[in-house]
Symmetry: C2
Subunit: 330 residues, 2 copies
Amino acid sequence: MTTRKHATIREIAKAAGVSTATVSRAFSKPEMLSPGTVEKVRQVAADLHYVPNRSARALSTGRQGAIAIIVSDIANPFFSPLIRGIERQCDSADVLVLLGDTDETAAKESTLLGKLLHQSDGVILAAPRSGDAELTAHARQTSMVLVNRDLDGVSQVLIDSAIGMRQAVAHLAELGHQHLVYAAGPADSWANGERRKAIMSAARRHKVKVTTLKALRPTHEAGIKLAPDVVASGATAVIAFDDILGQGIMAGIWAAGLSVPDDMSVIGCDDITAARSYPAMTAISADVIAAGERAAETLLEVIQEGRAQEPVIIPTRLVVRDSTGPARSR
Amino acid sequence: MTTRKHATIREIAKAAGVSTATVSRAFSKPEMLSPGTVEKVRQVAADLHYVPNRSARALSTGRQGAIAIIVSDIANPFFSPLIRGIERQCDSADVLVLLGDTDETAAKESTLLGKLLHQSDGVILAAPRSGDAELTAHARQTSMVLVNRDLDGVSQVLIDSAIGMRQAVAHLAELGHQHLVYAAGPADSWANGERRKAIMSAARRHKVKVTTLKALRPTHEAGIKLAPDVVASGATAVIAFDDILGQGIMAGIWAAGLSVPDDMSVIGCDDITAARSYPAMTAISADVIAAGERAAETLLEVIQEGRAQEPVIIPTRLVVRDSTGPARSR
DNA sequence: TTGTACGCGTTATCAA
DNA sequence: TTGATAACGCGTACAA
């Protein structure tokens, strides 16, 4: 409530009997000073509860000491561990984290980006919805790391579902499934494209037939609605774009009086909420917290070095739980 | 990547043929200027892609144009809609949102608070873990709004589970349940205390017996582990501290070969993930997005008026789904 | 209604 | 290794 008046560099300087420059250096470039001076200044500063003023520093250096995360929907559970990883990394680097939510619209994404661009040293765009051209244009204006989007010349962290998808198809093939459904996600999602391609090629190798069904949105409700189509397709297993969709499909299958995994095997993707259903869902798992950490780490490098970094690939693997079982002959 | 050089107030002034003060006022105090001047300056500024420098403004005014949200665990789904509400409100007020995660520890909460305190105009503390004294001390240093914590002299947004809890107990009583379990949450959680009290008093009125069982943490896994105790208690219904715990208990009940709601009715709380299970869970629902919006709104008022505001109460209501049914005589 | 000029707290440059 | 001082971009008395 009461805005307390803070000690400034000048007061510290006076109290310590040094110049303001020395105080400044004691914090930002201690290696330029004699150890004794640093010690003395820091002591005085601590006594006076000195906290460097970030705005002043930013004004002087042009660096904000903050980065921004832009997500399409904070309510999407996928972003939670991602944000946590970013948070953790930034916290230890003493960098502030600004949060933006685009409400799933490309327009808002662009507006927000334009706004946050100036208040931060760089931006992490998670699962962006904007077009390539627009993203490239923005990337020219600030340091940027993309999560789950492949765009030439921009740093990126990609969760490679292919590995896990191959394991998933192999797992199902081993259980005797010969026809499976891919319940697809948003068409403009990079992850969706990768997952579809990986399934297709793995299925070909295992001589398994694949039917692709498109959910309107990757939500629980959409999954429930999609379930009858999944059943009608004649497939005995389904791989869903993400966990929520998969669990929706499971609910829809139960609601139709069938059973998981006896009548239908279900596999989710991301493994955020997969373990939180009954039966616990087999899923393609990725260390999303690590993805967040790597994204933040990469962004800090981009900022420091002033140029894009090599893409970071986060591997995935199949985690078998209770929603997959032997194919039932139909 | 490339840090673009931004237009400054001075360049706009020169281009528009006015003074820097006029440019400044065209943005922060347009009512002081003639409409024509404002129009002209803004036009020139737009042409030059002028964006006010937030750091400079902050340095000059002492206001940061940013607030901070501190949550105990971004992965807890309860915080998602809360953050979304805060985000939304702040976005329309052109206020930036800083995010902090305390990793569930009071120590980190305090550190983070101390850090963010200086970089923002105010803080929203969601479900804080710190003690009253510490919170009060921090509240003296900055503008602060508490979510789901009742502390004298500090502004707060409280989700009043009592209403919904009463409806829940009445609903169960009507279905013939005479003995229910409350699966409790963290002991230091304000919400947990409120919920427990509400259940107790409602149960007394309906002459229903209540057994309180304590989960180690409100997680899905803890719910599964708690389920056998719930069954062993002899109760025919259970109200859980939150959705995740409730769905864990549901999973544990299924795993024990029993059925929901035939053998046991289950009610969750918060209604964030309640609809996303099979059967869809009956839950005590609150508009958490609205809670977030109100929290942000309140904080902006606190900042502006420099003093605490009246507590905001967010009502709850029971949403009946498929996890509750008639009591089975046992 | 508009302009001039100073201060906000820090860092960087240059000199000592 | 340290000090003096000029930026950094904006808001705002005060003056006109």
